[in-house]
């Protein structure tokens, strides 16, 4: 642990003086202000770049950019210290062995059994059973049981019944990295399915009988339709260029009954630089509206998001409305294919819009089908050209859908942001490595914990208060508006400016409604208890009445007089009651008091992992928005004091 005094400059805020610590897993900055001792934790695995800037009179500035879009600017008084920190961080941020990652040292104090339970939370066999598989058309295949056919595929795959082992192996030899067509989603109602694969090795003229039979088998598994769509998610030009390398796309003439379709989603390199450009815009110091909109436009980011959505919408429509099966591929079938298949599934099946279902979806289309998490998110030091925000884009697609269908998702924005965080954090084992094979070799399940169990335990924080399973919006296929719909895609400041709290709405509707719902639940319970007590009292009074039948006249009189009495008391009592409820301030009404504290505790305990970025604080802040006189608006006042002042005057 190095002990350096330094300045912390978060965006344009006033600098805070404090101490910087480097641990094996975190960079920790502790403010010197003795009452608060505000801490900023950053996981090494979150660091995407470190920049040492020219030394100034005040010291040596160090800029740390994180993969969860946090930007930290430090000024270290001594050039030498700064250099040491810089060198250490460069090494720490780029581990070379999986064992160096945080998840191997992270211990949430759960016993072995709890850990195993956690890993069992999401079970893909169960999921395919839920879809209605195996059935007459589809079966499970163990052809890849020791990863003998395809090392980036899982051991258990679902294929058409009529596809023999010979066909599968033959087809796999004709597909890039042997990623043969396998089932991603099956629609029970009309037998239409979504299958996925990599590109065929067709070159300019090659063909493969088994591969043709494989596609035929997929078509036959949907007796209601006489053709299948083959969707190549690449731009046509890219696909054609691949032919020169002996790869390419399906020739409609060779395959019977396919309809071939290009959907131009750009490759990982274009996406990487697009995100880079957008982040540059987000980082601008007090940009003008034009700077911002131009930058956003030039980054092309929202255009790419729309392309992915359009592909998903096309497939969902083919399956739900036309009842036609679809085979999706891109080049290797692990990036764009994963995006598009999961967006389509999300549109088609309400289950995937629940919290549990979403975990299953990620596990199915991303984790099990060999999305290269390690390469894409740079967990281990590797080729920077392999890094690309593929999953980030999928998560944003979900958010864009949540904006358009506010009641359709069981989870809220925070859920998505936390998943994004953990794709990079390496705190849990779920997203380690590039394939199931690698994860098994590393014995991930025995040595690390599952994110899903962690999120599930804290699910109360991730609920969308507007979700109701019986709501019309929740049912069936989601049909986003197609055209003109460009304006429906919006910049997601909750994600990309996640740490600039000042930019976000100061009061959160979601948190407000969550608190109301929690109070409602307590009221329901209290109502029940009160009802019981009332019933008991009435019963005992009735008994009393029987016993004291002689005194009945008198008790009647009494009853009258007491009720008169209480009437006189009513205004006071009433207003007391009124006060204790609607004015949700913690000082009044013991029930709410505890309720508020409870949720705050929940929030705190739920986020130990995210303490990495002092997120607990925001949770509490947001929640306390509810009490009008409470801290809710203090942050806004505070921010008004420093940051905004600068902003208004500067412009």
């Amino acid at each position: 642990v190095e002990n350096v005094r330094l300045l912390d400059r978060l965006s344009s805020r006033k600098a805070a003086l404090g101490t910087l610590y480097l641990t094996a897993t975190h960079v920790i900055f502790v403010e010197n202000v003795s009452e608060t001792r505000k801490e900023t934790w950053v996981l090494h695995s979150q660091i995407s770049s470190i920049e040492k800037q020219a030394t100034t009179a005040t010291g040596c500035p160090l800029l740390i950019r994180c993969k969860n879009f946090q930007v930290i600017q430090l000024v270290i008084p001594q050039e030498r210290d700064c250099h040491d920190v810089y060198i250490s961080l460069i090494r720490l941020a780029r581990p070379v062995k999986y064992e160096e990652l945080y998840c191997f040292s992270f211990n949430p104090k759960l016993d072995k059994e709890e850990r195993e339970q956690g890993w069992k939370l999401v079970d893909l066999n169960e999921e395919y059973n839920r879809m209605g598989i195996p059935n007459n058309y589809w079966q499970i295949s163990d052809i890849n049981r020791d990863y003998g056919v395809c090392d980036s595929y899982p051991t258990e795959l679902y294929v058409p019944k009529s596809a023999t082992a010979h066909i599968i192996v033959g087809s796999s030899k004709f597909r890039s990295r042997r990623r043969f067509p396998a089932l991603s989603y099956y629609c029970k109602d009309n037998n239409a399915s979504i299958c996925r694969s990599s590109q065929p090795l067709s070159g300019f003229s090659a063909r493969c009988l088994e591969d043709e039979q494989m596609l035929q088998a997929i078509r036959k598994a949907n007796p209601g339709s006489d053709f299948i769509y083959v969707v190549d998610t690449r731009p046509k030009l890219n696909a054609m260029a691949n032919r020169a390398a002996g790869k390419g796309y399906e020739n409609e003439d060779n395959y019977s009954n396919i309809k071939f379709q290009f959907i131009g989603i750009e490759n990982i390199h274009v996406m990487r630089s697009s995100l880079q450009k957008m982040l540059e815009v987000c980082e601008l110091k007090s940009p003008s509206m034009s700077d911002f909109l131009w930058g956003l436009e030039n980054s092309g980011w929202l255009k790419h998001i729309k392309a992915i959505m359009d592909a998903g919408i096309f497939i969902a429509k083919a399956v739900a409305e036309e009842g036609v099966s679809v085979l999706v591929h891109c080049s290797d079938g692990w990036d764009r294919t994963a995006q598009v298949c999961s967006v389509a599934s999300l549109l088609l099946d309400p289950y995937y819009r629940t919290m549990k279902g979403f975990m299953v979806l990620v596990e199915k289309d991303w984790v099990s089908f060999g999305h290269k998490f390690n390469h894409r998110y740079g967990n281990l030091d590797g080729d920077p050209k392999e890094i690309s925000p593929v999953m980030d884009q999928f998560i944003e697609c979900v958010w864009q859908l949540m904006e358009q269908f506010p009641c359709a998702f069981e989870f809220n924005e925070r859920f998505l942001i936390h998943i994004q965080h953990h794709i990079y954090s390496c705190q849990f084992g779920n997203f380690l490595c590039n394939s199931q094979k690698e994860r098994r070799e590393l014995k991930i399940q025995e040595r690390t914990y599952s994110l899903w169990a962690h999120l599930w335990k804290n699910r109360a924080n991730y609920l969308n208060p507007l979700y109701r399973s019986d709501h019309g919006q929740t049912q069936g296929t989601l049909r986003p508006q197609m055209a003109p719909c460009n304006f429906l895609y919006k910049f997601w400041s909750g994600m990309y400016n996640r740490f600039e709290k000042g930019l976000h709405p100061r009061q959160s509707v979601t948190d407000y409604l969550m608190a109301v719902k929690e109070e409602t639940q307590q009221l329901e319970e209290e109502l029940e208890v009160l009802g019981e007590r009332l019933a008991n009292l009435q019963k005992s009074q009735l008994n009393d009445d029987k016993v004291k039948s002689k005194q009945q006249d008198r008790s009647k009189q009494l009853g009258l007089s007491t009720s008169n009495n209480s009437l006189a008391n009513t205004p006071q009592e009433y207003s007391n009651d009124l006060k204790s409820f609607p004015s949700r301030s913690p000082s009044q009404g013991d029930e709410e008091d505890s309720a508020l504290i409870l949720t705050q505790d929940n929030l705190k305990s739920s986020d130990p992992d995210l303490s990495a970025n002092s997120d607990q604080e925001s949770g509490v802040e947001d929640l306390s928005c509810r009490s009008p006189s409470g801290g809710g608006c203090l942050p806004s006042e505070d921010s008004g004091k420093d940051s905004d002042e600068a902003v208004y005057l500067a412009v």
């Binding site: 929202l302 895609y489 000042g502 100061r506 409602t520 007491t562 009495n565 509810r626 008004g640």
Partner: protein, 550 residues
């Protein structure tokens, strides 16, 4: 003039109405003096569309054979299309609509003919009188007085008959100051900040001209608002360049030499045709069906609408900041003091004063800072985004203000008693209405038109509980603090409720809103039930105890 003369074909059958997101409907079209009425003849689901002629911004006609098509573009930004069989009928109807939607006499407007179908509980014309407002003020300070100097609108034609000015300044001095300010709009009180006694005043530009004319009374007037030893801020809503140019035309700005206790800050809020063109471009972009994602963002950018929003909000935040944080008094003006000045003073009050975030308080703000302050509604709102005729005085100044309020509302969704619908309703009525509230350009014109006697006030209608319930924000919890909005580009958004209102399906968003209301309603019901039960239990328990005591 009889409207009948303008209506050659009062009725056409077999007309087909097209609207985005609705199936085409066939029905009958009727024209009356003030309305275009379309009613579908379907027995099962009769549907009627009533459109005020004054809501029509522009009309286009085209023919395919004898089938005529009229495209009607409204000031509330809606576009509808009517297919009318018969060339003559179509031509007649089109020319009638054109004539009726561009009547030049105010007294022919619908508010003079409208008879309310509801019971008037409270006369909105008398809901927000300056005396009441001043009473509130005098309960906290005695440094100000009501001056009736403008009783006959003789000093300043665009000011109301009574204004609030510093107590130490007499009417004679006011007359001299009026001579020194453009349009005689001398500095008057706009807002008093109870927390620290600081004030916001507004006026028009001083008439310094090129030779640096000064007016001792003007200096004395605004200095009267300063505490001893304190400085104040003058927020000029024009850039320094524009303000300097204004001197050539006899206008100008306060020279440091003559106003040593004041620090002048220039902001750059656009006016007139620049704003109008911005609106036209924005609405064009929103209605464009063809563009791809890229062009949408660059068109949004090119419209500059959000840039204007950012400028206005920033200036308002600055004014609020000077008052609340710096503890300084503020004078706001631009050129005339009827447009950007009012945007700044009214938004600053929303930031500072919780009362302005209630329904009643906001209405009072609109009356005070817009209607009585002499924002020329009739000129500014004569045409909206679809108008072909280039007229000089149109500008979406009030719409920009409402948009800014919406931006703050979006950032503080629990701090406003009203909802987005309330703001949209005000936008609609400012441009076309059955009520007289937004007619005329100032109080002077309104009194000449005898609007309070001859027309109904919008507030009479809105402030009835049936209507109010539509405009209440279910999330509202009184927030007594100053609310500081963010003006960063990431925090400002296109106001979809207005600009995409007719181009997007709103079903899912409406459902979400309904769900929100239900959640809160259910919570309140339970609270009431629990309270009732608690009371009942308490009664029975005392009852029991009394019995035991016996």
């Amino acid at each position: 003039m009889e409207f009948a003369e303008l209506i050659k074909t009062p009725r056409a059958d077999n007309v087909v109405l097209h609207r985005p997101f609705y199936l085409a409907v066939e029905g009958t079209l009727c024209l009356t003096g003030h309305h275009l009425i379309f009613s579908s003849r379907r027995q099962d689901n009769a549907e009627e569309l009533w459109l005020l002629h004054s809501n029509i911004d522009s009309i286009e006609k085209r023919f395919v054979g004898s089938l005529g098509t009229i495209v009607i573009k409204c000031k509330d930004l809606r576009i509808i299309q009517l297919d009318i069989p018969g060339m003559e009928e179509c031509l007649n109807i089109a020319s009638s609509i054109e004539a009726l939607s561009t009547l030049d006499s105010v007294t022919l407007m619908y508010p003079f003919f409208y008879r309310p179908m509801f019971e008037i509980v409270e006369d909105g014309w008398r809901s927000f009188l300056p005396d009441q407002e001043f009473e509130l003020l005098s309960s906290v300070t005695d440094e100000w007085r009501l001056s009736c100097i403008n009783k006959e609108f003789s000093v300043c034609p665009s000011y109301p008959p009574v204004v609030v000015v510093p107590k130490s300044i007499d009417d004679e001095a006011l007359r001299k100051v009026a001579m020194f300010r453009y349009g005689s709009r001398f500095p008057v009180l706009s807002y008093y900040h109870k927390k620290n006694g600081m004030v916001m005043m507004r006026s028009s530009q001083p008439l310094t001209g090129t030779n640096g004319r000064r007016c001792k009374e003007d200096e004395k007037l605004i200095n009267a608002t300063l505490r001893p030893g304190k400085r104040g801020y003058i927020i000029d809503t024009r850039s320094l360049n524009v303000a300097q140019q204004a001197r050539a035309k006899g206008g100008g700005f306060e020279q440091e030499a003559h106003y040593p206790q004041w620090r002048r800050i220039h902001k750059c809020i656009e006016r007139f045709n620049i704003l109008q063109e911005s609106l036209i471009k924005l609405v064009e972009a929103c209605n464009d069906q063809s563009h791809n994602m890229d062009r949408w963002l660059s068109k949004l950018e090119a419209s500059n609408w959000l840039t204007h929003i950012k400028e206005i909000l920033t200036a308002a935040c600055l004014a609020a900041q000077c008052i609340d944080r710096e503890g300084a008094s503020v004078l706001v003006h631009g050129t005339e003091g009827t447009d950007s000045t009012l945007q700044v003073t009214s938004l600053a009050q929303i930031i500072l004063d919780p009362r302005c975030r209630t329904i009643r308080g906001f209405e009072s703000l609109v009356v005070r800072e817009w209607l009585q302050a002499g924002h020329p509604f009739q000129q500014r709102c004569a045409q909206s985004a679809y108008s072909n005729s280039k007229q000089k005085w149109e500008a979406p100044v009030f719409l920009l203000f409402l948009d800014c309020v919406w931006q703050i509302l979006r950032q503080f969704p629990c701090s406003f008693e009203f909802n987005e619908q309330f703001l949209i309703m005000l936008f609609e009525h400012a441009y076309a209405s059955q009520f007289g509230t937004f007619l005329g350009n100032n109080e002077n014109e309104r009194s000449k038109l005898k609007l309070p006697q001859k027309t109904m006030s919008l507030w009479s209608w809105v402030n009835r509980s049936e209507e109010l319930s539509k405009f209440q924000n279910p999330l509202f919890e009184a927030n007594s603090l100053v609310i500081w909005p963010s003006v960063a580009p990431q925090s400002l958004q296109l106001w979809e409720g207005v600009f995409l209102r007719w181009n997007r399906p709103s079903k899912f968003l409406d459902e979400a809103h309904e769900e929100m209301i239900n959640i809160i309603k259910y919570n309140k019901e339970l609270q009431a039930k629990v309270n009732a039960l608690r009371r009942q239990l308490a009664e029975m328990e005392t009852d029991d105890r009394m019995q035991e005591n016996l």
